[in-house]
């Protein structure tokens, strides 16, 4: 008689609830750990970003020194906090497009620090400064009389080299400072030394603090999206009609259902104890390979001769105790060949190379055949 073996639903629940609980707990823990330990996201030189590219470390240092750092994302926000006593730090000028917008920024009061400005931004915000060749990013010595640079010493600089009449250039032109229209404008070819990853190296931190910490308030204007007008601001997701994502969801559902249909086995896999498969000839083949590997021509020749003699002796009507001389003369008499030659084949020295071994095997075969056929 038969007995059902499939578990009922409640049995299955009883089996699985403990592993499921453990899994849920692990997921919860992992989520908490990731949320707590995750670096705060943000782009290059973002004041809040703790990623290697961010500038949170520098902002925190400034805060410790009593400098107030105002992080702004738009021109309007910048205008609200800027006054003649502040330093305006502008980076990521690729997000600042349009002459109107740049003019608005140029109208902001106070000193300026431009980080890697594009040509358009450079012309608007630091008029009179021209950009030269691009230089690779490396550690350079100041090579100028600017106090902020000489105090810091060598630092990681690079980017475009700048020139302007009456300006001080340091680090082979990648740092330029000049006075114009009653304000100090500083241009940096590379802002890499301001980032979290590089701040601790060489004189980077000192240079960064000297450049940005001279004012009681700093307006940190690093946009994260395209500013200004005239460009479409819709993301890719916003451009796709809503029904497509629903259809994709339905498609995922269909795929999952088909996978469940095809993945369900009709009954468990049947296992079986398999027998050992050992080919009995493996020992002979293994020994042959050993002979071959060691070039054991002496042993191989000896085995071949002994086997041939074993077969020859009964055919010649001799007993196993027959002497080599008796065997050689009996063979010579039977097949009518030179006894010396036969002795060399049956009792000669070990073959010196593979060719002679093959020849020996062939000669033994010939003698055996002749004795058999005679």
């Amino acid at each position: 008689m038969s007995t059902p073996v499939s578990p009922r639903v409640r049995d299955r629940w009883r089996t699985w609830r403990a592993p499921l609980a453990v899994l849920a707990l692990m997921l919860l823990l992992a989520t908490v750990i990731v949320l707590l330990g995750r670096p705060r996201p943000g782009g290059y030189l973002d004041a809040e970003a703790t990623t290697p590219q961010g500038a949170h470390a520098l902002v925190a240092l400034l805060g410790n020194e009593g400098v107030v750092v105002e992080q702004v994302r738009t021109v309007d926000e910048a205008r609200a906090v800027a006054d003649p006593g502040t330093l305006l730090v502008v980076a990521r000028t690729e997000y600042l497009s349009g002459a109107d917008l740049l003019a608005q920024i140029a109208a902001l009061p106070g000193d300026r620090l431009l980080v890697e400005p594009l040509t358009e931004a450079l012309e608007a915000l630091a008029p009179g400064v021209t950009a030269g060749d691009y230089q690779s990013s490396t550690v350079r010595v100041p090579g100028c009389g600017l106090r902020a640079a000489t105090l810091a010493g060598s630092a990681l600089t690079g980017g475009e080299g700048y020139q302007a009449t009456g300006a001080t250039t340091c680090y082979e032109g990648t740092l330029l400072r000049h006075q114009r229209d009653g304000r100090t404008v500083t241009v940096l070819g590379s802002g890499e030394f301001l980032s979290n990853a590089r701040l601790a190296e060489d004189g980077n931190a000192a240079l960064a603090m000297n450049l940005t910490g001279a004012h009681p308030r700093v307006v940190w204007f690093v946009p994260v999206s395209v500013q200004g007008t005239g460009e479409g601001t819709a993301t890719l997701g916003e451009l796709i009609p809503g029904r497509v994502s629903w259809a994709v969801l339905a498609l995922v559902l269909a795929v999952v259902l088909v996978a469940l249909w095809q993945g369900r086995r009709l009954g468990p896999v049947v296992t079986e104890r398999l027998p050992v498969v050992v080919r009995a000839a493996e020992t002979a083949e293994g020994r042959g390979r050993l002979y071959r590997a060691r070039r054991a021509r002496d042993r191989a020749g000896h085995a071949l001769r002994a086997a041939a003699l074993n077969r020859l002796v009964p055919r010649l009507g001799l007993t196993a105790t027959a002497t080599p001389d008796a065997i050689v003369s009996a063979v010579a008499a039977r097949i009518g060949q030179d006894a010396g030659q036969i002795r060399a084949i049956l009792y000669g020295s070990a073959p010196a190379d593979d060719a002679r071994l093959v020849a020996l095997a062939r000669n033994l075969d010939i003698i055996e055949r002749q004795v058999r056929d005679s």
Binding site: S2, V5, L249, G267, P275, R289, L357
Partner: protein, 440 residues
Amino acid sequence: MALTGRAGLIALVGVVLVLLAPRPGLAFALLVLVLVVLVAVDLALAGSVRLLRFQRLGDRAARLGETVEVTLLVENPGPRRVRGRLRDAWAPSMRAVPREHTLDVPAGERRRIVTTLRPLRRGDHRAATVTVRAVGPLGVAARQGGHQAPWTVRVLPPFLSRRHLPSRLARLRELDGHNPVLVRGQGTEFDSLREYVAGDDVRSIDWRATARRSEVVVRTWRPERDRRVLIVLDTGRTSAGRVGVDPTSGDPAGWPRLDWSMDAALLLAALAARAGDRVDFLAHDRAVRAWVSGTSRTEVLAALVNAMAPLEAELVEADAPGMVAAVLAQARRRCLVVLLTDLNPAALEEGLLPVLPQLAGRHQVLLAAVADPRVAELAARRDSAEQVYDAAAAERLRADRHRITARLRRHGVEVVDALPEDAAPALADAYLALKAAGRL
């Protein structure tokens, strides 16, 4: 539970509807709802798999190479029809066909399902789980469950050498009293008196009996009877080696020496039983694996085949002293001990040779081994240096076999060393020769 392709198909149609619907979110929710309802309804209305009852009928034993038909009776005592698929699972080497059956059992009825097995391997094979997938009336979802319906099929050794039996029985009859001239000798015993017919050997005329009667009477003789033959099968590591070509499946990887030895043992047992001898059987490696004794002559073959069926070669060195002790304990009278093992010099010199005198002193020992045709093949090919090295290794192996054979013969042991196909007839011939010589 299980889903069918229809569930996926419905979801695919739903994708199009979601694309076309005025409110795609709502359409998607509706799709999910419809699917859930359909699956739930189907599961609720599908026939119960748990309530099914199974019963088995059919063959319980077969020779290797034959097909086995196993019948499964499926009874549905539940209130709903069970419609779907059924799998009667067996081990892969049983080669069960068909793999899946379609099943349709109305409530309260029974259906018969026949699975054909073509076993590849000897031994006891148990049925695995019977799994049923009962599809609901909508064909969207199915209930699935397994049942244990126990059944064991014993696959017996094929006894392929029985084709040699008629010729050996004819040889046996020649030894029998029909032709007294042939069998005069110490290996014969007095059978009966009968009338002289022209052609009888005059030396067999019983003059004393002739004097009492009016006609000339001759004595007839027959070979000795009621001797004991003990077949000892070595199931140690040397019996695992594969030689020749598997005669049941044509597998060129070969058939274990154990199976060839069994084949030879069965022919010998059949012959000895017909010749009036008692046949016992012992399988031994580190321990006694099988023991058959005291069965009647008509049943000995069946008993042997049954005892041999589950035997497998064990990957351990055979314990020759233990085997000899077991033989000596069982066979108190002198008998013919047929050892089916391999002429492996290392194994024999360490194991059997030291204890052989104890055995050969009390019993006539006949050692039968299956030679490997591959070794002869290797020894014959001598065209390149590689082949000559292999040939030398093969010759070395053959020389070792000859050496150990000579040593065994010095102990008074008869040795039969034959290629796989010839092993069974060669062993039978050796037995007949011993019987003719009266050495049993």
